[in-house]
Symmetry: C2
Subunit: 332 residues, 2 copies
């Protein structure tokens, strides 16, 4: 199997590639090559990069770049590349250029090759495709009316996946990912960063600024669950999707207050005391675009996609995967 990962140097891309390599070593997936393309410096966290992995630095807003990437006829294309929500909001043109136009570039490059070429395209969408006001429970038939440019660009991507798949240009499947939490490393420009910051920083002994009110509600899944679901999408029978190719993934709905309660149960009062409240009106306004009710995610669950059982489990996964199973030197 030849795999192309578009946006391979993002947090999720790096973890996906590492897991794919592990699966190749374990012989659970037969991988011929993995090509990672990213506009930024394209380096892997992988210690020993196997020979079948290739890193390409290139800009998919250039159609010729996309043509070249697709000319190798990868069997699977993971399309993870995106300008994140905060940046798409503050820079209208870049948001549309990357999240809409570059997505079309990739899809059009595939369509141009589509004679005897029918790759699987795994598209990452986001819960940001939903916009309130919400009912108490959001089912799989709830209207997609985002209230951010990022969300709108993601719905458009989903719709294009539906159309290109329906017309046989590729075999698409989209995953509406919950907010990835706990997001490791430095904060990025995603407006949803605060939900991770207040867990990650205290667990590392650092103060974290809580910029939004405690009743703000979000839907979460761990980076591991996101990667597992992306890999699961490799083998989903897409004929079961009909013309609705993108699925809301399972996630844990929690308020900031509930996040903090879970952190207290896992790590204690001293860690929680590192969270300092200082509401930022701009951040507050942004997260109010979401404030999701719980999602049923029935379709995704029915097709075998999974997530954690509680926010505690999300925190414990972070401690185990990113902190060597320790909080400030003390074994969990």
């Amino acid at each position: 199997m030849k795999i192309l990962v578009v946006g391979g140097n993002g947090m999720l891309g790096r973890k996906l590639i590492a897991k794919l390599i592990q699966n190749s070593i374990d012989e659970t997936i037969d991988i011929e090559t993995i090509t990672s393309v990213d506009v930024g410096s394209n380096q892997s966290e992988i210690n020993k990069i196997p020979t079948q992995v290739k890193f390409v630095t290139a800009d998919i807003t250039n159609f010729k770049v996309c043509q070249q990437l697709i000319s190798n006829k990868p069997d699977v294309i993971f399309h993870l590349a995106a300008v994140v929500s905060g940046e798409a909001e503050s820079n209208f043109e870049i948001g549309y250029r990357v999240n809409l136009d570059a997505t079309r570039n990739i899809f059009e490059a595939i369509r141009a090759e589509s004679n005897h070429y029918y790759p699987r395209v795994i598209f990452t969408s986001s819960a940001a495709v939903y916009g309130g006001p919400f009912p108490e429970l959001i089912d799989d038939e709830y209207i997609l009316q985002p209230t951010t440019s990022y969300g709108i660009q993601k719905v458009i991507g989903e719709l294009l996946v539906n159309d290109y798949s329906r017309l046989g240009f590729f075999n698409g499947i989209g995953l509406r990912l919950p907010t990835i939490c706990v997001r490791p490393g430095k904060p990025n420009a995603a407006a949803s960063g605060v939900f991770s910051n207040i867990i990650r920083e205290p667990l590392a002994g650092q103060e974290a600024i809580l910029t939004v009110s405690k009743d703000t509600r979000m839907v979460f899944a761990s980076p591991q669950s996101a990667v597992d679901n992306l890999i699961h999408a490799l083998n989903v029978d897409t004929t079961l999707l009909g013309n609705r190719r993108t699925l809301m993934m399972p996630g844990i709905t929690a308020t900031i207050e509930e996040e903090i309660q879970a952190l207290r149960r896992v790590a204690g009062d001293k860690i929680v005391a590192l969270i300092k409240e200082s509401i930022d009106p701009r951040a507050q306004k942004f997260v109010e675009n979401w404030n999701f009710s719980p999602f049923t995610a029935d379709r995704a669950k029915g097709l075998g996609f999974t997530c954690e059982q509680s926010f505690e489990e999300i925190i414990i996964k972070h401690i185990n995967n990113e902190l060597g199973g320790e909080i400030l030197g003390i074994k969990l």
Copy 2:
């Protein structure tokens, strides 16, 4: 008020302009100029064209054309231009070029002028934004998952109206029009043409071919109701729309069988006998993309948008407006 009608030579565009001129004469709308732009030969059905109406033949797939049209800073832009459903389905590239790219051209031309310029944009969407399977009743929160390229292009247009409006680039409102029935004149490439053909042709004493099965269901409104609702959109308080700027318009849901029954009640058996059944599998497959359940259209109704009360009323309007109130020389 300076009005720009994009797609002004379509069936709806011509009727809209005629009605706007009438409203100007009646002094119910204060119109300074009307500019009609269309890619085809741009002639009006209006007998005496008032001096304030200007016809421009131009192609909005060219961004510079859009810039020029917007440089006059019209107060209102009716965006009616589209490649119809059948053509968008048979020609993928033209569908996206006109229905998506040219729509973006217009919106981008407005955004480029948006400093101290805030026109009202009235966008025509379509019930084709919905795709089955449907619940028994389709409310205003039902997911938009079209099963045609045309429908997908229309949802994308709606989403762009939401985003450009939210960001203050223009004051947008979208109308999801039911299938216009009875559509006067020659059939066009709209896949929904059959629903009008079986009424219009028999009423004119001509045979009509019924190409789809009698249990096929569609949602309808008259051309007059569509025009009235477009003009009503001039004065709707858009702050009431929130971030969901496009409204499903009220319509009459009926099967082909129910259309025929209504025709029989209005015009008698001899007229109905002119309908000859000859199922076209391609047309049948296309209309199966729709087969709508009834729509609540609650939001639109709450804002004063209206339609006919029955399919008979739709037929009678056609006879009165297009046939001088007569069926084959006999007064209705």
